[in-house]
């Protein structure tokens, strides 16, 4: 095994790291960079708890090698709030009590933000299908969907 | 000590070999002692834990919960939850 040197941008910061070729982007974030906001729920791309964006596009970090990140812009949940100012998606999740255990929440935040950047006025059905890859076992999704719709409205009126 | 009409339920009844009996006791601990004396086979089950219902309230442990005269008393398997 030999380490691969990778230069990339994470949440706007230039970051260099060395990783093994087998390591996923999720491994790199969590184990090498200490960014544990993305969670490993399945490692098969079926739960969405490890959601990140790569060049603005929503992705499961468990389905990407750390070695692939060179030259790309990575976005994680840690970069969603600006300092102490929450993104409307985050604030609305709190306001609507749209979390119980909270382990799926980082993935939902990243995914919902990506949705609203692409589609500022989604229907309930569009939100539900967009988030179909983000499993939540606690809430039955009801309050999550309401929070995302509400955040969309706030962003539109801002 | 007051005497109670006690109903045994589920595996408690089967292990004891009967479903109802008279037992004396001011509280749960005394009642369970009387029960074990009457039905020695229940010893291990009582040690493992049973639940006692007094007038519809379930007690899992709580030895010193008083049992009022004329109360409805059941000894049933111990409960757990998710």
């Amino acid at each position: 095994m030999s380490g691969i040197h990778v230069s990339t941008t994470i949440n706007g910061d230039q970051i260099d790291y060395v990783c093994e070729p087998e390591e996923t982007m999720l491994d790199v974030l969590r184990d090498r960079l200490g960014m544990t906001g993305a969670k490993e729920g399945c490692s098969t791309g079926d739960c969405g708890a490890c959601s990140i964006t790569v060049d603005g596009r929503l992705t499961c970090s468990c389905l990407m090698l750390g070695a692939e990140a060179g030259g790309h812009e990575i976005g994680t949940v840690e970069g969603v709030a600006q300092g102490n100012e929450l993104h409307p998606v985050q604030q609305k999740i709190l306001d609507h009590a749209a979390l119980q255990c909270g382990v799926c929440t980082p993935g939902i935040v990243v995914a919902a933000k990506a949705l609203l950047e692409k589609n500022p006025d989604p229907t309930e059905t569009e939100v539900r299908y967009w988030l179909a890859g983000n499993l939540c076992r606690c809430t039955g999704y009801d309050k999550i969907i309401r929070a995302v719709m509400d955040a969309a409205q706030e962003l539109r009126s801002a | 000590m007051p005497v109670h009409q006690v109903t045994l339920s589920g595996i408690v009844a089967k292990t004891a070999g009967l479903t109802a009996l008279e037992l004396e006791g001011n509280n749960i601990r005394q009642l369970l002692k009387s029960l074990e004396a009457a039905c020695p086979d229940l010893g291990p089950l009582i040690a493992k834990g049973v639940a006692v219902s007094i007038d519809g309230t379930l007690y899992r442990d709580d030895w010193f919960q008083p049992i009022p005269e004329g109360a409805e008393v059941f000894v049933i398997p111990r409960l757990a939850g998710g």
């Binding site: 996923t24 791309g45 969405g48 990407m64 070695a67 692939e68 299908y129 988030l131 179909a132 890859g133 | -």
Partner: protein, 286 residues
């Protein structure tokens, strides 16, 4: 394991051909990484093709579309002209996995895994799509339907990589559609998948058709009998029944955790009718 990300397809093919151990192509990686993590495969070499510019574009060519092997399914859905010409093919590609998976998964990867239930393949088969393959002996073209050899097995030779998939120019009054059956609304592997592509003449009679069936046999099927069942018709009830019967008859499925033989056979017919109706409407039929 070594990771390589060459800049040209020739370099990639050379790397793959020279590797004496197990080599794998990494495009979207949505299947490869799952297999890696689970220890199902332990490759000696992984060749990432996403740094090869020629494989990362959708190009209009002779009125048709050439889709690079590294193009994600999400990008296909964002290509208005492609969606307008081949809505069924794009539908199939866009049903692979979640939004997250869409951002990475590629149609070519879906094809080259040779899963019998690959969502994007029945539509490609119905469309008579052609893949361009680059290998140590140069470039060749092969019908998409001829790539899978069996579950997980392809007819590609060692060192060969699919560079792109070409969807031909659409005649006027053409339409296609893909439908699959899954127990949920998302996130499942198709229990049955049906792609239908057809072309009408001016009075709405079907002149050309293709029907691809997924998840009902070891490979995705090109069901000529089903196509014949509707050619020459205006998709009336009788033609639809013949289509359904032909689709069901072509099935050679298994019982597994995802569905039973009888279910797959029945539903293949049902979905063939439904997909044909959508394709017919898209082609302008009434």
């Amino acid at each position: 394991m070594r990771y390589e990300a060459p800049g040209t397809i020739e370099e990639a093919a050379t790397l793959l051909a020279r590797e004496s151990g197990i080599a794998r192509v990494l495009a979207g990686g949505t299947d490869l990484l799952v297999q890696l993590r689970a220890g199902m495969i332990e490759p000696d070499l992984v060749v990432d093709v996403k740094r090869i510019p020629a494989m990362m574009d959708i190009v209009e060519e002779n009125g048709g579309f050439r889709i690079g092997a590294g193009v994600s399914c999400a990008r296909m859905g964002e290509h208005a002209a492609l969606v307008a010409a081949w809505p069924g093919v794009v539908e199939g590609a866009e049903l692979i996995g979640s939004t997250q998976v869409q951002g990475r998964a590629t149609m070519t990867g879906n094809l080259c895994n040779c899963g019998p239930a690959a969502d994007s393949v029945p539509g490609l088969v119905a469309a008579k799509a052609v893949a361009t393959v680059v290998g140590p002996e140069g470039r060749r073209e092969i019908l998409v339907k001829d790539i899978p050899a069996g579950p997980g097995k392809s007819n590609l030779k060692k060192g060969e990589i699919v560079e792109s998939i070409f969807l031909p120019k659409r005649p006027e009054r053409s339409g296609d559609a893909y439908l699959r059956f899954i127990p949920r609304t998302e996130m499942d592997i198709a229990v049955v998948g049906v792609g239908v592509s057809l072309t009408l003449d001016a009075d709405g009679t079907i002149t050309e058709a293709g029907v691809g069936l997924g998840a009902v046999a070891p490979t995705v099927l090109d069901v000529e009998d089903a196509a014949k069942a509707i050619i020459g018709s205006k998709l009336d009830e009788a033609a639809l029944e013949k289509l359904a019967a032909a689709a069901s008859a072509a099935c050679n499925p298994i019982n597994d955790k995802r569905g039973t033989i009888e279910f797959r056979v029945d539903v293949a017919g049902v979905l063939a009718k439904r997909a044909a109706k959508i394709a017919y409407k898209r082609a302008g039929g009434k």
